[in-house]
Assembly symmetry: C2
Homo-oligomer: 329 residues x 2
DNA sequence: AATCATTTTGTAATCGATTACAAATTGCTG
DNA sequence: CAGCAATTTGTAATCGATTACAAAATGATT
């Protein structure tokens, strides 16, 4: 791989001139520009990002932190981020943290070391303290999960309201015994969705029963299967389920199918996220749709503004309740 | 962010000594080492990857190219890659190419520019010519999809054999009319799986009928639904389906369920990949299991060896047929 | 205390780019 | 063609690390 020095020699000019050609500086005569361009082509030269970044302190790379790529929820968000990034001549690097602090550290260092210009974090398990610290000197945006009262700009939806509306939909269908399959309430969205769930129940004077609230360890299908198994063993079984993610809801659906009961006739079920698979289940899954692509676009735009040094405001986007077969009993 | 210069000043030593401490060189006296370590802590210093990489021509970063993160097939492979990388103090960056040559280029440049030390490509649509060119001077490993007769080391399974066995299983169950839902045959795996399908049919003297072979554009669920819709409109309908990916098979399952037919009683179905969803469908899906985690581990090990300058040989791993409800008619 | 071997530290070049400033070239005018 | 302004090009410092080599410090031996 040739370097700028060799190009300069071949073209019979100085490295400064080559650099000017590379950066489309106006002050290069057509004649020398052509000479340099020929040399570049002949040597198959491409400028080193490393040298350039070191000098410029900019990489035009954006980091996207996510806990696990196995959750299809992130797919569309990433598309939105990527398209927006590319439109602004940035590129993205996906970083799977596996909720592992050591890995987080590595990626944080990439930011500190100017290997990347900014970061969008979608990892709810990320170390808040460290992220806040990083955000003091580097551009950081939170996407989907955020910090109440924190200082980092975020883009998200109103989880509480979405949960409230979902549960209200179940109540309107005549359900009085509604279970919640929640994830760990260390996550803000989990607390908010529980709160929306309870608000709806209260509004219709339905009791909030602890045994109908199940907390899963992760968001894998298997956790949903497990949750449903527990709920079906109760003396007083629920007639409807609200799960805080589609993966859990699909697991629950599986659990119900396995027990001989029927969805939606015996049990109605609502998920959250509208992942592509939620439309492939039998029956198809009623779910809350987050504007994932738009979230990605918004987060990327906010980050790019932030890199430019502009102030950015947090954004709350709209959601939709997508009614499908699993609540058409 | 402090630099090595400031640490040296604070500790009252030269930058060389600081660098030696950072790299655990033996020739530093305990006294000065402690001084330097104190200074590092006090200044909250972390070495710049940029400066270091520029000098060392090594980044300890591995690139993983994949066409789309929405395909769950890649999830486990990536886990294998990541764990292996970390065990060897490498890190990985996930690069979604979207089968877009421009994006590919960007990531190829990262390699050329020493922003990353090597690349594992899982993208069957990647530009072979360019990749081969890159592989002449940089470590490259192909994972899953590969090049027949190419020079780049790969890790994969025997797709032809797997398809042959899957179709033979359908034949043994008494099926005589077996359809193939294939993807675009520009992909090697698609040609191989078709070939295995045909070998099984021939062996049992069953006719190969073009109208029972459907080619999809992509591997999305929706493509499977569409394929099934076409197959069910045929005058002579198949009694069994072999789909070259679980996503297609799940889509097909959906298409069958929607038509009032029953799996496995009316139609048996086999997928390919054993993605986590395949166990969540109703009925659960019989499928060919690729040793995805192991593929990831193997590919990463091969790449790391290759970076070290060692010669590596291509590997073909074993697969399994996982028999579930969709073929238990 | 002088000598020499060994250990420890420092100096300065290097990686590949960018850019302020200086220097050279060009073009124009009288 | 001298003189000056405008344009074009080159020189050298810079970003932040590593490391060959030189220099200094330490310790052992006589």
């Amino acid at each position: 791989m040739a370097n700028i020095q060799q190009v300069a020699e071949k073209a019979g000019v100085s490295v400064a001139t080559v650099s000017r050609v590379l950066n489309h500086a106006a002050s290069v005569s057509t004649k020398t520009r052509l000479k340099v361009e020929d040399a570049i082509k002949e040597l198959n030269y491409e400028p080193s990002m490393l040298g350039r970044n070191l000098r410029n302190s900019e990489s035009r790379l954006l980091l996207v932190l996510l806990p696990s790529i196995s959750n299809p929820f992130y797919t569309e968000i990433i598309n939105g981020i990527q398209n927006t990034a590319i439109a602004n001549s940035y590129n993205i690097l996906l970083c799977e943290t596996d909720s592992n602090p050591q890995r987080e550290n590595i990626y944080f260092n990439m930011i500190k070391n100017k290997l990347a210009d900014g970061v969008i974090s979608m990892d709810p398990t990320v170390n808040r303290q460290k992220l806040t610290e990083l955000a003091e000197s580097h551009p950081v945006i939170l996407c989907s999960e955020y910090d109440e009262g924190g200082s980092i700009p975020f883009v998200t939806i109103d989880s509480e309201l979405a949960a409230y509306q979902a549960v209200k939909h179940l109540i309107r269908l005549g359900n009085k015994k509604i279970a919640l399959i929640n994830s760990d309430e260390k996550f803000l969205y989990a607390r908010q969705r529980r709160s929306g769930y309870e608000r709806a129940l209260k509004e219709f004077n339905l009791p909030i029963r602890e045994e109908w609230i199940y907390h899963t360890r992760d968001l894998e299908f298997q956790n949903g299967v497990q949750a449903m198994r527990m709920l079906l063993e109760l003396e007083e079984k629920p007639t409807a389920i609200f799960a805080v993610s589609d993966t859990l809801a699909i697991g629950a659906l599986k659990g119900i199918n396995g027990s001989g009961l029927h969805v939606p006739n015996d049990l109605a079920i609502i998920g959250f996220d509208n992942i592509s698979f939620s439309n492939m289940t039998n029956p198809t899954l009623t779910t809350v749709s987050q504007p994932m692509y738009k979230m990605g676009v918004t987060a990327a735009n906010m980050l790019i503004m932030s890199i430019k040094g502009e102030q950015v405001e947090s954004v709350v986007l709209d959601h939709d309740l997508i009614i499908r077969e699993s609540t058409m009993g």
